[in-house]
């Protein structure tokens, strides 16, 4: 069974251990069709994700949803009303680092496991194998993409998430340019947003990013452990701006800034994505770097305006 997911907190090693095939949903196309249940101010990513699902862009049988943001937690109800072919698995994921909340999440995962397999020992054994396999793949991929420019990196990592394997990369050459370095971060980054990166790379080198669909997804490696410890790793170690408090995320990007000697920050957020758009000032204060906020809804009607602003950051 092929299961679609998009949130980085999805325990994909576990899905593999349950003989499911996880497919990360990173839409490349934009469709006009949308659900009547989304209001005009709903998240553009979720609206477009819905359109892609309705158009059966991916061959999936079900979708794995976590409860991180309001949109994600309410998406299941909309999908149930609109898309019949999909099985929907909704799992609670804590916003805070509360240990009882973790226990709640763990119990939900146990219930999910029971849908597929009752032998927990077997699952633990398979899980360890899958963690090892995925960690190896991620480490290999990290080595490959390390010397590439951001767009190429994003492309390869996307392919990896979709297919579950390292993409063919025989003759890749180092393609990192020597311009002023920026950190690029923000909402769920998909090929529809790539034009923005192209524009940025005219002026800057995107030396690091923290998108969960790009670097953040391969920056963390679960310990080879049994189920609870493995889930606890997801719960406690992977940074996300939506968690409360979100200090871990800030520490993560600060490490990137120090490592890559970055001077400027470009924050890219989708319209109505509160998680990032509320953080601009905090990022600026915490990182003590000039920060540019770019907002988009995939329409790119304002491409020239965005480029002017990027140019202004370059000159500043």
């Amino acid at each position: 069974m092929r299961i679609g997911y998009f949130c980085l907190y999805t325990p994909i090693e576990l899905l593999y251990a349950l003989s499911l095939k996880p497919v990360r949903l990173i839409p490349s196309q934009k469709f006009d069709l949308t659900s009547k249940y989304f209001r005009y101010d709903a998240c553009p990513f979720l609206k477009n994700l819905f359109s892609n699902l309705a158009n059966k862009v991916w061959e999936i049988d079900g979708i794995f949803l976590l409860s991180l943001c309001d949109g994600q937690r309410r998406l299941g109800e909309i999908l149930k009303r609109e898309i019949n072919y999909l099985k929907i698995y909704e799992i609670y994921f804590p916003r805070t680092y509360n240990l009882t909340a973790f226990q709640f999440y763990y119990e939900e995962i146990l219930d999910f496991i029971k849908l597929w397999e009752r032998d927990l020992k077997l699952i633990n054994k398979r899980l360890k194998e899958e963690i090892e396999i995925l960690n190896k793949k991620k480490r290999r991929l990290l080595k490959i993409v390390d010397s590439l420019n951001f767009l190429k990196k994003a492309e390869l990592i996307k392919e990896f998430w979709e297919k579950g394997d390292i993409p063919e990369t025989k003759f890749l050459e180092s393609s990192v340019s020597e311009k002023e370095k920026v950190l690029f971060l923000g909402s769920y980054y998909t090929p529809l947003d790539w034009p923005i990166a192209k524009m940025i790379e005219k002026y800057f080198t995107i030396a690091a990013d923290s998108f969960c669909t790009v670097s953040r997804g391969i920056d963390f490696y679960s310990p080879i452990s049994d189920l609870k410890e493995y889930l606890f790793f997801y719960f406690s170690k992977i940074p996300c701006i939506l968690r409360r408090p979100n200090r871990i995320f800030y520490h993560y990007i600060r490490r990137k800034i120090t490592k890559y000697k970055i001077n400027k920050i470009i924050l890219y957020t989708l319209k109505f994505c509160d998680a990032f758009s509320f953080e601009k000032e905090s990022l600026k204060t915490y990182l003590k770097r000039p920060t540019l906020l770019i907002e988009s809804d995939y329409s790119f009607d304002t491409t020239l305006q965005i480029e002017t602003r990027i140019g202004a950051l370059y000159e500043s």
Partner: protein, 449 residues
């Protein structure tokens, strides 16, 4: 009778001095504890919007307004008389029963200050959030951040409790920014609590909430320097239950009576009084009881504040601008039911003598934002049936996270199951009038009820 602001002021002149002196907060005897002021005072303080609203002419309601608008002063006074101030955010009503079980603690929701720019018809707080680079397309609750910066709306809290999970995302972001303000502040502790967004696994959800409350009670004990016994907590819960019961009686009387005995604006203030009792539970209890008795009398005498012909409607999600309630009433409706996203404070807490924390957790699971939108729609449908309403108004805020996903489902569920029309309106930024286009839509909706 409903009167305008100017008549309301004139009526105040007729109130004898001894009555004005009679009502005091925090059970204090000093003159400074008076809260019954001429409505003009509030307008002079900046609540310009009052001049566009209509009010119940009774002394009981004047007392209500005086008490509500006196809250800022009251909170500063509380600090002066050595009470500890607890700012509670996000959970809307789950925690105050614990806070008010302590003698020296005062809890309040800065969240309620989202009404401030509307009552004052002033953009200043929005400008502050603008300078903080908060998105303009987000819930008006963002102004709460500005109130923390301004330091004028409440004293510095001794403890801040922020709940996230089943709260709106916008407000979760606002709370995160507020927590950043206190990151290096050693004097004010900031704690995060988790609200489970779902209730299918009831036991786990209750366990989580219960642990939150236990943990919080321990911290509150330290802040208050006072031990919280089970007996004290039960007695605190009973006090809260009494208020919730009286409010429910009032709501039923207002909703089921032939003529509306009380206006929607006062009912909105009364419903939100269940949150933190406007920072003085004992005085609030008396104010609520006074209004309940007034309404009983009016119902008995078949007296009302609106026309008998006004059509019954249910209101979902609280309107940021109170003017809308008045407009709907003026145009021929009466609001009989409500789902102001605070269902959790309308439930009686089932007192469990062995473990009141479990009782609090069980009760809180009824929260409007816990669970599916369909469940929230059921709450609205129950109100429609209970009070025989002819239509529903859902007010929302452009950019507010939950509105974007739930409104259409609510509409569909209500129209299918309750067979009544639903009007969805966006409440715009503060203004002295309702936009003409919205007025036309409202009028058309009312004509079709």
């Amino acid at each position: 009778m409903r009167v305008d602001f100017f008549t309301w002021n004139e009526l105040f002149q007729e109130i004898p001095e001894r009555i004005i002196k009679k009502y005091k907060y925090y059970k204090r005897k000093e003159e400074w504890a008076r809260y019954l002021s001429p409505p003009q005072t509030f307008a002079i303080y900046g609540m310009r919007h009052l001049m566009s609203l209509k009010f119940d002419s009774s002394l009981e309601c004047l007392r209500l307004w005086g008490f509500v608008f006196n809250e800022t002063e009251r909170l500063f006074r509380a600090k002066q008389i050595n009470k500890k101030i607890i700012a509670v955010m996000g959970d809307l009503g789950g925690i105050p029963p614990i806070i008010y079980s302590f003698n020296s603690l005062i809890g309040f929701y800065p969240d309620c200050l989202w009404w401030q720019p509307f009552f004052s018809e002033n953009y200043n707080l929005f400008e502050v959030t603008g300078r903080a680079n908060f998105p303009e397309t987000s819930c008006y609750s963002r102004v709460v951040y500005a109130t923390f910066l301004k330091k004028a709306y409440f004293p510095k809290p001794d403890l801040i409790v922020a709940s996230t999970g089943a709260s709106c995302d916008d407000y979760s972001c606002v709370m995160q920014n507020i927590s950043n303000l206190f990151y290096k502040d050693k004097k004010t502790e900031f704690i995060w609590l988790e609200i489970p967004p779902r209730k299918e696994k009831r036991e786990s959800a209750i366990k989580l909430l219960k642990e939150n409350y236990r943990k919080l009670a321990k911290i509150l004990s330290e802040v208050a320097n006072e031990k919280l016994t089970i007996e004290k907590l039960i007695s605190g819960i009973k006090r809260v239950n009494l208020i919730r019961r009286n409010y429910q009686k009032l709501k039923d009387l207002v909703g089921k009576s032939e003529i509306a005995p009380l206006g929607a604006l006062e009912m909105l203030l009364l419903e939100f009084g269940n949150l933190h009792f406007y920072s003085d539970i004992f005085e609030w209890q008396k104010i609520l009881l006074g209004i309940l008795n007034l309404v009983r009398k009016r119902v008995k005498n078949n007296e009302g504040v609106l026309n008998k012909e006004n059509k019954k409607i249910v209101w979902a999600t609280p309107p940021a601008d109170p003017l809308y309630l008045i407009y709907f009433e003026d145009k021929g409706t009466r609001i009989v039911g409500s789902e102001y996203i605070i269902n959790q404070v309308l439930q009686i807490i089932p007192i469990n003598k062995t473990d009141p924390f479990t009782a609090l957790a069980e009760s809180y699971l009824s929260a409007s934002l816990i669970g599916k939108t369909k469940e929230r729609a059921d709450l609205i449908i129950n109100e429609i049936k209970k009070y025989q309403a002819k239509g529903v108004v859902i007010s929302q805020v452009f950019g507010a996270s939950h509105c974007a996903y739930e409104t259409e489902i609510l509409k569909e569920e209500i129209e299918e199951k309750a067979k009544v029309p639903v009007l969805i309106i966006d409440i715009p930024l503060p203004a002295s009038e309702i936009p003409l286009q919205t007025q036309t839509r409202i009028n058309a909706f009312i004509e079709n009820l």
